[in-house]
């Protein structure tokens, strides 16, 4: 009788510029499941990894923003297809890592995939809902439209790792921003499985970068980085929130940490265009409409 087959364990790396590099720091951290068994080693992202991610995301963002909204919608729908294909993997990762029941994990994964589909449908409607023609008191044709802010850092909290990631990331990229996701090391297997879905969808390299690391370690660098335009996050510790907001004053980044937001299960809130609004700039254009 042959011995039990040796499982092929996955090496967890980062996801930067459409590729899977190791952390330049060479640091790895063991990831344990809910029963304290070793699952894998996560790459522990450093400040230099962050800089690389910013470079890649700033290079990719203008092109992503310039793609038609219809095209961005199809790309995000393709991401939902890739997530659906990995549904079983996500379910077993969530239940293993968090020690939650299969049923609970299934609910979270399904909600995350459905939320992705929702945002695939938002791309070409954001402008009609958040913008519009303005009825000014004079002979001018005036319209306001949302434009992406640029590179947005997305700080994913520990709990509900997949749903939180999708809920925070999708509103950011739907409008044409590029994102640098910072996911907790403890959930690295999940974040990197998500990265693999992104990599096999049609999301252009650099539009979504995923770093696994320690929020409080990266937060000050993110906050003070002049080429990051905004910070998105939720359920962060008050210390992390403060360090992000304080550093953000450096270049007046937009910071939205959804202090007032309801739970991620609240579809009415997280599917609304108002989750997209903090990461767009409203541009108002005037032109005379009479000679």
């Amino acid at each position: 009788m042959s011995a039990a087959r040796v499982e092929v364990a996955k090496t967890l790396k980062l996801y930067v510029n459409g590729a899977f590099p190791r952390s330049e720091s060479g640091r790895t951290v063991p990831v344990l499941d809910a029963r304290k068994r070793l699952v894998a080693h996560a790459s522990h992202a450093s400040r230099k990894d962050l800089r690389d991610a910013v470079e890649s995301s700033n290079a990719a963002q203008p092109k992503w923003a310039a793609a038609t909204a219809y095209n961005r919608g199809q790309v995000i729908y393709r991401l939902a297809e890739m997530l659906e294909a990995r549904r079983a993997e996500f379910i077993s990762l969530i239940s293993a890592l968090e020690g939650r029941s299969k049923a609970e994990a299934t609910k979270e994964v399904d909600r995350a995939i459905d939320r992705c589909v929702c945002y695939a449908g938002w791309t070409d409607k954001i402008a009609s809902v958040l913008g519009g023609k303005q009825p000014v008191a004079g002979p001018y044709f005036v319209f306001s439209m949302p434009e992406p802010t640029g590179t947005v850092a997305v700080m994913v909290p520990d709990a509900q790792p997949l749903l939180a990631l999708v809920s925070l990331l999708l509103p950011v990229i739907a409008s044409g921003n590029a994102a640098i996701v910072v996911a907790p090391l403890a959930n690295a297997p999940l974040a990197i499985a998500f990265a693999e879905a992104v990599a096999t969808s049609d999301v252009p390299g650099g539009v979504v970068n995923i770093l696994t690391g320690i929020t409080s370690e990266l937060a000050p660098w993110i906050a003070s980085h002049r080429d990051i335009a905004a910070v998105c996050g939720a359920r962060l510790s008050s210390g992390d929130a403060k360090s992000l907001e304080l550093g953000a004053a450096e270049n007046l980044k937009r910071v939205c940490l959804f202090h007032d937001a309801p739970a991620f299960e609240d579809d009415a809130f997280w599917h609304a265009p108002f989750a997209i609004a903090p990461f767009v700039e409203i541009k108002t254009v005037w032109h005379p409409s009479a000679l």
Binding site: L252, A268, A272, V285
Partner: protein
């Protein structure tokens, strides 16, 4: 000096506002003496003569104003929206009735030409109240399905360049959304806000819904020091600031981690781009309005003029000829185009930039008129031969000074225009529609004026990209600054 055979006879505005010799702080529906015991004289920058004595609020006074706003909040936020609306409509109407007097006072206290305070500032003040009055009972449609709720107490700190207009831009949306307010007018221009306090009293706005604290930067800091979501007796839930980027950043730091909401409308170094195919005389008028409106004390002023290289000499000649026609002088004269600089300190700032412009090698062209002996005055100025690295091409001067640079291709124009940490406004002059629209897409600015400049409207959102701040004022988009969404905390 260019002597014209036909000089303009003076056409002074004759109305004088009914002013008290001294004003207290407007707290809880009454004008009260400041606990700080301090006051200061506010002057007319065109004559340097004092107009009135104004209270200088200390931290204790600010805390008192915030407490009044907190006390008023539960009832005001639960007032039937349609009733709130009627009060705001009434305020709009009353300001309209007193427009002429308020315009004169604005010009007396701030130095801007009466032509502008009468035709630009006051109509916009009224429109902001009227427009937002109508929003009170329609917020659920503006944020469909998202359960909009007021934030609470808003601390609002405003600048001296459009004193009453900034008060209206801050107060009207905040009140429409059901918030209560503590407004701090700028140190040099407190008077129209105080008269507005009287109007609010007269119109029956409930006590404490709007509180007005006059004073200097310390009073402003006392407001931001109270930022925090704890909802305590003295907590401010939202800070809204219009002013310099430097102060905006300091405010952002002091609000960090408190949970208070923040919107900032800050500085700019806005590009005004003239293509060779523009209607040149219209473009000249647009550039004039873009930089010399309100003595250039305009955050969105078109202070960097980019002219397509092939028309540079012709355009600058036309612009200088037009500039020489500007009438600089008494703000209360109805013929005046350019009034007094708002304060001695601002004049000194502008003069430093004028010197830097010359020192760094730019060529200065200025209006050759005689300036009044007293008061603070600056000649409208054009700098040519400006390099992008020059101080006057990078920093906000906030005065009647335009820096002229050139470009050869639309790509170069976009690249140079966007090469700034600011992003408040941009202007484009071309007769080619597709080019205008393409430029509007590529310019990083919150407001893009195509074949026009410096237009404002209560229904059109205004605010910046990048270090020009965040948040919008005006229109449905502007309401977001004063509401909380969702059924959560």
């Amino acid at each position: 000096m260019t002597q014209t055979p036909f000089a303009y006879a003076p056409a002074p505005e004759s109305v004088r506002p009914a002013l008290k010799p001294s004003y207290g702080l407007f707290i809880d529906g009454r004008f009260v003496a400041p606990k700080s015991g301090r006051s200061f004289r506010t002057i007319n920058p065109a004559t340097e003569e004092p107009i009135a004595e104004v209270a200088d609020a200390g931290a204790e006074d600010v805390a008192r104003a915030v407490a009044a706003a907190r006390k008023a909040f539960p009832k005001w936020s639960r007032t039937k929206p349609a009733e709130r609306a009627k009060l705001l409509f009434r305020i709009a109407r009353r300001i309209q009735e007193r427009s002429r007097e308020l315009a004169v006072l604005e010009s007396m206290n701030g130095g801007k030409p009466i032509k502008e305070s009468r035709d630009d500032d006051l109509p916009l003040v009224v429109q902001h109240f009227f427009h937002h009055a109508g929003w009170c009972d329609k917020l659920a449609y503006a944020f469909a399905g998202a359960q909009p709720r007021p934030l609470g107490v808003c601390g609002q700190i405003i600048p001296w360049n459009f004193p009453l207009m900034m008060a209206a831009w801050k107060l009207a949306p905040a009140l429409a959304c059901g918030n209560t307010c503590v407004l701090k007018p700028a140190e040099t221009t407190p008077l129209t806000a105080l008269v507005l306090g009287e109007i609010l009293q007269e119109c029956g706005l409930p006590e404490g819904v709007v509180n007005i604290v006059t004073g200097g930067p310390d009073a402003g800091r006392a407001i931001t020091a109270l930022a925090g979501r704890n909802g305590g007796r003295n907590a401010v839930d939202k800070i809204a600031f219009t002013g310099s980027t430097e102060v905006g950043k300091a405010i952002a730091r002091s609000v960090a981690g408190t949970g208070a909401k923040l919107t900032l409308e800050l500085g700019g170094k806005s590009p005004n781009i003239v293509f060779a195919d523009a209607a040149l005389d219209q473009a000249v008028e647009g550039v004039v309005g873009g930089i010399w409106f309100n003595q250039g004390h305009v955050c969105c002023a078109g202070s960097r003029l980019f002219v397509e290289e092939s028309i540079h000499d012709d355009f600058v000649a036309r612009l200088e000829r037009r500039m020489q026609q500007l009438r600089v002088g008494d703000p209360l004269d109805k013929n005046t185009d350019v009034g007094a600089i708002n304060s001695k300190a601002q004049l000194e700032t502008i003069n430093r930039y004028l010197k830097a412009g010359g020192d760094e090698g730019a060529v200065r062209h200025e209006v050759s008129c005689t300036l009044p002996k007293k008061g603070f005055w600056c000649r409208p100025t054009i700098f040519t031969g400006v390099q992008p690295s020059h101080t006057i091409a990078r920093e906000e001067i906030f005065g009647p000074v335009v820096s002229v640079m050139t470009f050869r291709t639309p790509d170069e124009a976009v690249q140079r225009a966007n090469n700034t940490t600011y992003g408040l406004s941009a202007g484009v002059w071309t007769e080619k529609a597709a080019r205008a629209l393409e430029m509007s897409n590529r310019l990083h600015a919150g407001v893009v004026w195509l074949n026009t400049f410096n237009r404002f409207d209560a229904s059109a959102p205004f605010g910046g990209y990048k270090e020009s701040g965040f948040g919008r004022e005006g229109g449905r988009q502007g309401l977001s600054a004063y509401i909380r969404l969702g059924g959560g905390r």
